[in-house]
């Protein structure tokens, strides 16, 4: 009988995902199942639906980028459309003027966007919460104008935009152009999702979340806030920029009108609805961004924008941690029920 409470030897950290309780074979089976589900559309869906799904995957990747800096690091960015645009144009310019192959443009696009994100990260250090949102919103509004500017018109094609050609599928793979683009988008996104997942589960990821939750305490613990925040911006911009590159080549066209502040708003909405600070949530977010405007249009031909905004607000009220949060809670409840049944007499 001790007067003090027993302190467990190892502190229990918040479970980020239910998978840590799973056995290895269960995890393997899940990965296999996931891969099968991801590849199935190639055989099942028609060209157009595959194209839509490809765009959804790209949007999911873009939302993932936003999630890293806003969801996990607490820096509200309403201007991620700018990085998406820069990535798209980087690929478009290199492919259109320089005749580069698509794969060669990806590292360049990644580097340029990361650099830009890093540069944006510096003034962002001085801004908190709402002010950063305001500033990035202004960036999003200003982007089309910058893209159209005369000084860079020879490169960007000005208001007329640039045309691209999709990369051809390799000769040894019996897939058509749409299927190949889906595989490309899926592959690139899978790699980046995996890298992000590792990042979030690592020390760096925890540091980012610590900065979000309590910057003062984080600084007191000795974290280098400035470096972490700017690098978070850089990584986030890089991911969204790569999504932009993929988008450019799938649509085969870039123009300033494709990158208005609507893109930034869509990414933000996707993040919120899918689940802030959730890798899986980004996937839901991507699906939402692509398919809900069509649903909104079915509901009201005359005012689809109103329905879209109403859906956003409904989600904010009813499901503040998004789809992913809903699933997480459902999974937790299921595990509790399973555990209770397991603890039988």
């Amino acid at each position: 009988m001790s007067a003090t409470e027993e302190i467990p030897a190892t502190p229990v950290l918040a479970q980020a995902s239910p998978r840590s309780a799973m056995a290895n074979w269960q995890r393997g089976a899940l990965v296999l199942l996931g891969s099968a589900a991801a590849l199935a559309p190639i055989f099942v869906l028609e060209s157009f639906q595959l194209f839509q799904l490809t765009m959804a995957v790209i949007m999911a990747l873009a939302v993932l980028g936003l999630n890293i800096v806003t969801g996990y690091n607490g820096q509200i960015s309403l201007g991620h459309g700018a990085f998406y645009a820069v990535g798209a144009y980087a690929t478009a310019i290199l492919m259109s003027h320089g005749d580069w192959s698509f794969w060669a443009t990806l590292p360049v696009s990644a580097a340029v966007c990361a650099g830009l994100g890093y540069a944006v990260g510096f003034p962002a250090l001085r801004l908190g919460g709402l002010y950063l949102a305001l500033t990035t919103f202004s960036l999003a509004v200003a982007v089309p104008q910058i893209l159209k500017h005369r000084a860079i018109e020879d490169w960007t094609g000005g208001v007329q935009g640039l045309f691209l050609v999709k990369p051809d599928p390799p000769s040894w793979l019996p897939v058509d152009a749409d299927q190949w683009m889906y595989l490309v988008a899926l592959g690139v996104s899978a790699v980046l999702f995996l890298l992000s997942w590792n990042l979030i589960r690592s020390r760096v990821g925890r540091a980012l979340m610590a900065i979000r939750d309590n910057p003062t305490a984080a600084e007191a613990m000795g974290m280098d806030i400035a470096t972490l925040k700017t690098r978070a911006f850089a990584v986030s911009a890089m991911i969204t920029g790569i999504a932009g590159s993929l988008g450019a080549v799938v649509i085969e066209f870039v123009a300033p009108d494709s990158f208005g502040f609507g893109v930034s708003i869509s990414l933000f909405v996707g993040m919120v609805v899918g689940g802030v600070a959730s890798i899986a949530g980004s996937i839901f977010g991507g699906l939402f961004v692509l398919f809900v405007p069509n649903i909104a249009e079915e509901v009201s031909k005359a005012a689809p924008g109103v329905i879209y905004g109403a859906i956003l607000i409904l989600f904010l009220f009813l499901l503040p941690d998004g789809f992913a949060g809903l699933l997480r809670r459902a999974a937790a409840r299921w595990r509790r029920v399973a555990a209770r049944n397991g603890d039988g007499p």
Binding site: M55, K166, D176, G247, F253, G305
Partner: protein, 403 residues
Amino acid sequence: MNTTARRSLLAGAAGVLAAPRLAPAQESPGVTAGEIRIGSTNALSGPVSSYSVISRCLSAMFKRLNDEGGVNGRKVNFIVYDDGYQPPRTLEQTRRLVEQDRVAFLFNQLGTPTNSAIHRYVNQRKVPHLFLATGADKWSNPREYPWTMGWQPSYRIEAQIYAKHLLEQKPNARIALLYQNDDFGKDYIAGVRDVLGARFDSMVRAVSHEATDPTIDSQIVSLAATGADVLICGLTPRFAAQAIRRAHDIGWKPMLFMSNVSISGSVVMQPAGPEKGVGVITSDYRKDQSDPAWANDPGMEEWRGFMRRFVPDGELGDNNYTYAYGAGTTMIQVLRQCGNDLSRENVMRQAAGIAPLEIATLLPGVKVSTSPANFSPIRHMQLQRWDGKSWVRFGNVIEGAQV
């Protein structure tokens, strides 16, 4: 042609040959015994959704057609999707129309960047891409894009006509050009440059504005300060009204040419102040519904009757409705010409073979006509001048240059 276009044509040819899932040539996609499906996209939401009334008017016209029994025994199913004026969404919606809804063809899709995003796709798939809702110049290119056709006279041709006219009146004019910084406005620069050639840089001072600018007073002031005696405006209605008003107020009286998208009496001239716009020159191919000359005109009466019955809440002062009525009439004529063969090839053939067609809302003397070498259905315009109360046409109906 440049590398990109060549590559895209090659890719398109390869794609067409390799794609196994396209409908075989002998079926008529989108056509059944009782129905023909036509697809379109428009900006139903977002900042330029003012043009969505065009689709509404067209839907109403097809409803009227169906009420009267359809065309050649078939009813028209007109499907319009929203693209929010964003090219990626235009591509998505167009692919949905072609691959999922399996429409026979596409009609009156809005915008230049939006149509740019899809016109390679539709030409690869050989889907008629007809009567686009945009005045850009590049749609009349039967050699490279045999399935795409515009409808209205291009802004570039319009600017050429203005430039020619002003040179007749003032051979040594100092020209100021105020344009909206997008594809629409830039076509005016291109048109003026076409006529002036090498003299463009010495004769013209061009200044742009953004659609997000609240006012263009600053630009007007800058241009007035150059001492120009001619002002050409490639502006949308709101800014057109501002320009006319402000130029007058600061005492600047240039020979003012206004883009014909911004000349509606009730939307531009009245707000600007009718007496302030005296002398403004523009062109048009349509009748202005607020012009007393057309008060009892049978064509406009037909249009007004249509609006009253089928679009009762439509604003009669919005000349998007007279525009849509013209495009719709042209489309219905093509459908009638097709007879029973509504295959895509025949639709395209008929669209490229319209004998001079008179339309209720177009000016007398302006007719719609096409040929396999000429994909600009409307090439005629007439200059008109504002006299304080209405637009007074002068001169002859002018034919723009062949593209």
